[in-house]
């Protein structure tokens, strides 16, 4: 099938439709607007529903209702809107409802700006709302990967009955790259015997995150913990780029990882043994990616579009065995490849120590 040129935001929408998502509830915010625009047109074509809510708070609770009623459903927003959704995300996690939440991250804190950033990493990977829970977080780095990961996102949400977040930024949303959409397949959505769809002669179903008796909530928490452990074992995803013999390993995700690939190219051309680990799942963090390189690598350089958030996960993974450095731009500014190359040269061979 021929490739078509597509914007990242539109690819999220098309990827969702092709993954069998038929319901979208959301509230406008920059920089993800092309996605609602796309789905408002596209969903009615496939018998689905696009509904604009009165707030992000309402949107995520509509998602809660739709997911509990058995639908493949999603919402999307950016930083400030995702903050408003945290209440609902916590309830979704507590009630174990599958759904997909897209965060096209912008500069913060507060109103910040609408430029691309990665500063919602903590919020995404640490649960974000109240209580002991985790959200699976996927971070695509190209338009094709967006298409592919939307299917993965909905499948993971179903498999684990857990909210899945797709974390991008304004660059990924706005940029165009060729994509191969493949055949449009009839998606078979796994049965949801737990959904509350009216008893229809069957047992009573309850969608709830309330466990008023502490002993019962503890049991529920432990059950969730077992699920999270399984996800950590099964679902770590990452890309390795030029890792063979790498003395300095860059670690970056999303747009920052694309820039770092250019950095690696340039360094390799100059004979510097530099490679890249690109986490695709931010949670679970791909700790497994580090085991094969930890002995050969002399250090790690984490590059982020923030003041340094994922760097903490890298430090937890490396656990003091190697130095972990950080380079970041924030406030909506992008790391410039030439600047990162300079940083690499400063560190290469341990000069940074």
């Amino acid at each position: 099938m021929a490739k078509i040129l597509m914007k990242g935001n539109e690819a999220i929408g098309e990827g969702a439709v092709r993954a069998g998502c038929r319901y979208f509830f959301g509230y406008p915010i920059t920089p993800q607007s092309e996605l609602p625009h796309y789905l408002a047109k596209r969903l009615p074509e496939v018998g689905g529903l696009y509904l604009q809510s009165e707030s992000e708070t309402a949107a995520i609770n509509m998602v809660y209702g739709a997911a509990g009623a058995g639908a493949r459903v999603m919402t999307s927003s950016s930083g400030p809107g995702i903050s408003l959704m945290q209440e609902g995300i916590s309830y979704l996690a507590g009630a174990e409802l599958p759904c997909v939440i897209v965060n096209m991250i912008r500069g913060g804190p507060g109103l910040g700006n609408i430029a691309p950033a990665q500063s919602d990493y903590f919020q995404a990977t640490r649960g974000g709302g109240h209580g002991d829970y985790r959200v699976i977080v996927l971070a695509p780095a190209s338009v094709q990967e967006i298409i592919d990961l939307m299917q993965v996102a909905f499948d993971l949400a179903d498999r684990y009955r857990n909210p899945v977040m797709v974390a991008g930024d304004g660059i990924l949303g706005q940029m165009m790259e060729p994509v191969e959409l493949g055949e449009e397949k009839e998606i078979e959505i796994p049965p949801r015997p737990w959904a509350a769809t009216g008893r229809m002669g069957g047992d009573k179903k309850l969608i709830s995150s309330l466990y008023i008796v502490p002993e019962e909530l503890e049991q529920h928490n432990l059950k969730l913990a077992q699920k999270y452990t399984l996800i950590i074992e099964q679902e770590q995803r990452w890309e390795e780029y030029q890792l063979a013999g790498a003395k300095l390993v860059l670690v970056a995700f999303g747009t920052a990882a694309r820039i770092c690939k250019a950095v690696v190219d340039r360094c390799r051309e100059e004979g510097l043994a530099v490679g890249l680990i690109r986490p695709i799942t931010l949670w679970p963090f791909p700790q497994k990616a580090f085991a094969p390189v930890i002995n050969e690598a002399e250090g790690f350089l984490v590059v982020e579009m923030s003041l340094g958030q994922m760097v903490e996960d890298v430090r937890l993974t490396v656990n003091g065995r190697r130095p972990v450095y950080f380079y970041g731009r924030c406030g909506g500014m992008l790391p410039v490849a030439a600047d990162v190359v300079r940083e690499v040269k400063k560190l290469y061979g341990g000069e940074g120590q």
């Binding site: 319901y23 708070t57 509509m62 209702g65 997911a67 639908a71 509350a196 008893r199």
Partner: protein, 248 residues
């Protein structure tokens, strides 16, 4: 011997946690009787709020959702949009619906969402310990208005039935009370109409039920019902604020 009074099928046979004299029990029963009479039990989905009726999901025997504080209308929107042939209702108190959830209730009503809202107005936050509600009357003493609600400090009580009835999306809006048997009969009629309006696909329906909270009002149950009649009804007039032509 003929059985003339029995528990509605739609209510579970378990004790409730409600205080003596609380009228939640009456309203639960009315909703359950209506579900039984309309023969919709098997396809009804309820949404419980945060507040005293947080455990409503344990008492109604149909499929239930527990929603976060104030968001029941958004949750119900998600359910009904996915399952348009099911009957969906929310059961919400005054703190839930008229304070933290005003955005959700107003816009669900404005969109004409085809579900039914049972709105319990007892002029107080009961579960959290008797604080002032958006519907607390002027002069009414609560744990956060120990000298009585002062309009200079707290403004005025919110009249939900009146507010929502002006929206084009609402099809049926009524305010009823459950302070005496005659009122209970009228309340049931209104609740039944609200569900019928939903079944006919006519739009959003809401019944505001003036209710008693003896515990947090600091009154014996009978006195509380009297207080409701004498103080709440004059400020919150009963009646059908909006009804479609098709419904008598």
């Amino acid at each position: 011997m003929q059985k003339v009074f029995t528990r509605p099928r739609s209510l579970k046979d378990i004790p409730t946690h409600y205080c003596p004299g609380c009228t939640h029990g009456i309203v639960h029963r009315l909703v359950a009787e209506v579900i039984d009479e309309l023969d919709i039990f098997d396809r009804t989905i309820g949404v419980a709020p945060v507040g005293c009726s947080v455990f409503a999901y344990n008492y109604f025997d149909c499929d239930m959702f527990q929603a976060s504080h104030g968001r029941a209308p958004a949750v119900a929107t998600g359910i009904k949009r996915v399952l348009p042939d099911r009957v969906v209702f929310t059961y919400q108190g005054d703190g839930d619906l008229a304070a933290i959830g005003t955005g959700e209730i107003v816009h669900a009503a404005a969109r004409g969402e085809k579900f039914t809202v049972i709105f319990i107005n007892n002029a107080i936050y009961a579960m959290t310990g008797g604080q002032m509600a958006p519907t607390t009357l002027l002069g009414q003493k609560t744990t956060t208005t120990p000298y009585g609600r002062d309009k200079e400090v707290n403004g005025y009580p919110v009249k939900i039935a009146e507010m929502l009835s002006v929206l084009d999306g609402t099809a049926y809006v009524a305010r009823v009370s459950v302070h005496d048997p005659a009122s209970v009969v009228k309340a049931k009629k209104a609740i039944k109409r609200a569900f019928e309006v939903q079944l006919a696909g006519l739009g959003f329906s809401l019944v505001e039920v003036l209710s008693a909270c003896p515990t947090n009002w600091g009154l014996p149950p009978v006195e509380a019902l009297k207080w409701l009649a004498e103080n709440m009804i004059p400020y919150y007039p009963l009646g059908e604020y909006k009804k479609p032509a098709e419904v008598g």
